[in-house]
Symmetry: C2
């Protein structure tokens, strides 16, 4: 049996069509896109092409796309960028986020608190969905930024982005201080493959994307920054990316990101159908395992993520034993460094430790097929049985 990779939410294989698009820029077209001569200008043209594709995908202007080194940088640029802008001007500000964000949002928020900014963390319901009423309750006159992810990376729960955007619109209209902004940032890293990312429809001011989660290369990301939004750069140097993100452009990486979004757009509807079918097959089989439960609500979930908990079986042990059988999954819990802390996402969903410790994330992708399901289920059942037989 060939290895099974069910960890596409951690990273995806680089699509060979993406690599083919990148290859000229890893070989003969090596120019610095900032150089005036034609070697540089050809590199710049490639960057421009990728910027156009990314802007098409998000339905925004190419000038509203900032290429970064990845989603962590994009999230930091959005949040720190807004905070730095207002802190520099001595404005008292407040931020809102949810309790189930990725560490690249949550840890930035915690740091902003250390820097004297007030931050509120919205609760989620039992299926890991942020309640818009929660956000409404938390908004203050000095709230300048609300950051909510599009779909959660551990349980795949899809957030009510348009609803929150509409709430923000109402709040903005109500505000007396017309000059205090209220921005909406959406970390769309896990959503890009499967959900509509039209920023006009969504109503967001910032949107974060990552290359390596959409069959593009690692080390590249983008941030949509709506025109006119007030933001400071994270770092300083040359004038690249409208002076918001200096440094020689990663031409091959940018070209790869452009090609990756193009493929996502073109193949999305077929991909979603295929993944839903595989997901249904896996969930059907999993539901027959005793003392197993799904985390999240399949109706409001990405088509590629299944988060399942097994009582009396430790997630990390399941992962390791499946790995020995050539199957890659991950634990829902983020205790990758040996910590026994349960996942902050599952905790926010009020899932009891006896369940959250035995959680496993199965995340499907472009390279998976229904043919893999039987072998996977067979091995998983054996692993659970063995672990439970060893349990005290």
């Amino acid at each position: 049996m060939k290895p099974i990779y069910f960890d596409n939410s951690a990273t995806t294989p680089l699509d060979r069509r993406v690599l083919a698009g990148m290859t000229p820029y890893l070989t003969k077209e090596f120019g610095n896109s900032g150089s005036i001569h034609s070697v540089g200008q050809r590199a710049l043209a490639a960057v421009d092409g990728a910027r156009d594709k990314t802007a098409d995908f998000l339905n925004c202007d190419p000038q509203e796309i900032i290429f970064t080194a990845g989603a962590t940088e994009s999230n930091n640029l959005a949040i720190q960028g807004v905070v730095n802008y207002f802190q520099k001007r001595g404005t008292k500000i407040h931020l809102i986020t949810s309790k189930i964000e990725h560490p690249s949002v949550l840890e930035v928020m915690k740091e902003m608190e250390k820097r004297g900014v007030a931050v509120s963390y919205a609760n989620v319901d039992n299926s890991g969905v942020v309640k818009t009423t929660e956000i409404a309750r938390l908004i203050r006159p000095e709230t300048v930024l609300i950051s909510v992810m599009y779909a959660n990376n551990e349980v795949g729960s899809i957030q009510p982005i348009e609803e929150i955007a509409s709430l923000i619109k109402t709040e903005k209209a109500r505000r007396k201080t017309k000059d205090l902004a209220l921005y909406f940032h959406v970390d769309a890293v896990q959503a890009v493959n499967y959900l509509n990312c039209d920023v006009q429809k969504l109503g967001t001011d910032f949107l974060t994307m990552s290359g390596h989660k959409i069959y593009g290369p690692k080390g590249i990301g983008a941030l949509f920054v709506r025109r006119g939004v007030k933001i400071e750069p994270l770092y300083f140097g040359g004038h690249q990316e409208y002076a918001l993100r200096p440094g020689t452009l990663n031409v091959a990486g940018i070209v790869g990101l452009g090609k990756a979004v193009e493929l996502v757009e073109k193949e999305r509807s077929v991909a979603v159908l295929k993944l839903k079918k595989i997901k249904r097959a896996i969930m059907g089989a999993l539901s027959k395992i005793p003392e197993a439960r799904f985390n999240g609500d399949a109706e409001r979930q990405l088509p590629n993520i299944i988060n399942v908990s097994f009582r009396r079986a430790e997630g990390e042990s399941i992962l390791m034993m499946l790995d020995m059988a050539g199957i890659a999954v991950s634990t829902g819990s983020a205790c990758s460094s040996g910590s026994l802390e349960p996942s902050h996402v599952l905790s926010a969903m009020r899932i009891k430790p006896e369940w959250s410790h035995g959680s496993v994330r199965i995340s499907l992708g472009r390279c998976n097929s229904e043919a893999e399901v039987d072998y996977f289920i067979k091995k998983l059942k054996a692993v659970i049985l063995k672990l439970r037989s060893m349990a005290p």
Copy 2:
């Protein structure tokens, strides 16, 4: 005639041996180095291998290497990282740099001034070399960081790094407040190919490297951070890179950087000899052109950079006309955005505008050969002649 690329200080071609090393990580070995399963662990092993190579090159511990997205980020991490550490603690601090640094240092310094930090800018001599006595004169009791580049990117002047390190050592010994640090940061981007980068010998606390200046990929860099040095991260998220630089690691880029330093080390002595020969041939021919002068002192200069000024010929025009003949060079002046400001480096060297406006940087590299010299000189002479005949 095949195109001539004499702009290796802007960027270098990706060495095909580097690309070969990266290829597995752009194809089948696509794992996230943070994943626990074997797909992830194989990626981590590759990262570890590259970290070891980079540490060997710098003669430091692998744990002292932080991979970044490039030199701009590395320079920002060193400078902002130190400033943020001390500002958070309310310590009054002072920084020193030189007037000829790259924008990714100078612009950070200017931003730090806006944030209330005192910064002094050291003068250079007529050949673009920082005077150690200048640095000595500028040191204050509250100086915490001195940042001086190893070799200048426009004129190739090599800076007295060991001398400055020794001065810093003396100053540190003299200080009464033993707990106030005095760190030394060196931007070695242009030096890595040609100069010894042993950080123990150099005596630096931080050292910046870039992938794409040493025949590696764009979008990857490194920062040497000496153990125990006090520094804050630029951004926040996961625990990657000892929590100093969160985000999924750019595995292929890191592997490329590791392979690139390995090749630099192995081939440096032969490369230097070859480049010196080409450089001598070009300089010999250039010196016969009337009203031409070299900027910088060839004795204290990188073996691959020639910066030459022509009176009554505009640098940008020379660049454009050479480009039409298939030759890529750059202007010494950084007025790439149409500004008529002369280069800050040439200005610091007290070169008069009538000369600095006509400056051209010829930067050689691994792919150049002596066979290119005749054609280049022939075309350059014709361009200068033409421009001068058109001048008022």
